[in-house]
């Protein structure tokens, strides 16, 4: 029996490594979960003179989607974002380190799932939200508390696993 111990150890280690292959290295736990949505005051995309801050989001839970026109992964989730918006989910966009003109063009071409889009040209607001890349999506509940963060494109699986369970308890 003792003889098999090293082999069992090897199998155990191999299993740990195998499971690790499915981990997303960009998925870093955010210290903002459970904290109020971080304030910012940014211009609205394509609407000079108008501004947006998280306190202006519609009442009820809402999503903050960080995106950019130069981001390939963002295109992968764009169709799904349009679906979510059509279902009535409140989506607000944060256009991160982008060219406002290109961003507006992209939305005009691909469709606009956002209630409003704030322009974070310098990425300063992104730093406050702990953004490490695009796309990222935050779920903020009806009380204005950040409840979840997803790094990477949104898809039905992520939605069901991560965001849906929270929505049923977030006063939707």
């Amino acid at each position: 029996m003792r003889r098999w111990l090293p082999f069992l150890g090897f199998v155990l280690l191999l299993s740990v490594f195998y499971l690790g292959l499915w981990h997303n290295p960009r998925e870093v736990p955010s210290p903002l979960i459970g904290k109020p949505a971080v304030a910012f005051d940014l211009p609205l995309l394509g609407q000079p003179g108008q501004r947006f801050s998280p306190s202006q989001a519609a009442p009820g839970p809402w999503l903050l989607n960080i995106w950019a026109s130069w981001c390939g992964e963002c295109r992968r989730e764009h169709g799904y974002l349009l679906e979510l918006a059509a279902q009535g989910i409140a989506l607000y966009g944060l256009n991160w380190k982008d060219d406002g003109r290109k961003a507006a063009e992209h939305l005009a071409r691909a469709g606009n799932p956002y209630r409003q889009v704030a322009e974070d040209a310098t990425g300063r607001a992104g730093i406050d939200w702990g953004v490490t890349g695009v796309p990222e999506t935050f779920l903020i509940d009806a009380q204005g508390i950040i409840r979840a963060k997803h790094s990477g494109p949104l898809n039905p699986k992520v939605w069901e696993r991560k965001f849906q369970p929270l929505l049923s308890g977030a006063g939707s």
């Binding site: 290295p25 870093v28 736990p29 955010s30 210290p31 903002l32 380190k97 310098t122 990425g123 730093i127 406050d128 939200w129 702990g130 490490t132 890349g133």
Partner: protein, 135 residues
């Protein structure tokens, strides 16, 4: 031919010096503090690099952010708190020693002790089952 190889090696070595991201020369003491802090912070994009050496745009932004904080007179601890508030402990290049990371820090030593114990047991068993071992 040897001389050419030597030259090639020197040039190659010189590029290693260019590894540190561009240094702002206006306040050398501040920059030294910045680099000191940045070598202990992780670039959250290129996650195996320190904030000091990464050329990622976000790393550049974060270095500027830290530079701004240092100019405001913030202490090293305040800068670190600023970053961990936003990015979590992961932004520290050296993981803090707390219950969550005990396994990370003590694991290797634990495995070593386990291996030594197993080896000791194995040797003792061999001695017992081979009585004619030795003169």
């Amino acid at each position: 031919m040897k001389g050419l190889w030597a030259l090639l090696c020197c040039l190659l070595a010189a590029t290693a010096l260019a590894g540190e991201a561009q240094v702002n020369a206006s306040d050398p003491q501040l920059e030294a503090r910045l680099m000191g802090l940045a070598t202990d912070l992780r670039c959250v994009v290129c996650q195996n690099e320190t904030l000091a050496e990464s050329h990622a745009p976000l790393a550049q932004d974060l270095r500027n952010e830290v530079r701004g904080l240092l100019r405001q007179g913030k202490s090293d601890a305040e800068v670190i708190a600023y970053l961990t508030d936003r990015y979590g402990d992961y932004v520290l290049y050296r993981p803090p020693f707390k219950p969550l990371t005990y396994l990370l820090w003590l694991g290797p030593l634990g495995f070593l002790l386990l291996a030594v114990w197993a080896w000791y047991r194995m040797v003792r068993r061999q001695r017992r089952t081979m009585p004619d071992n030795g003169p």
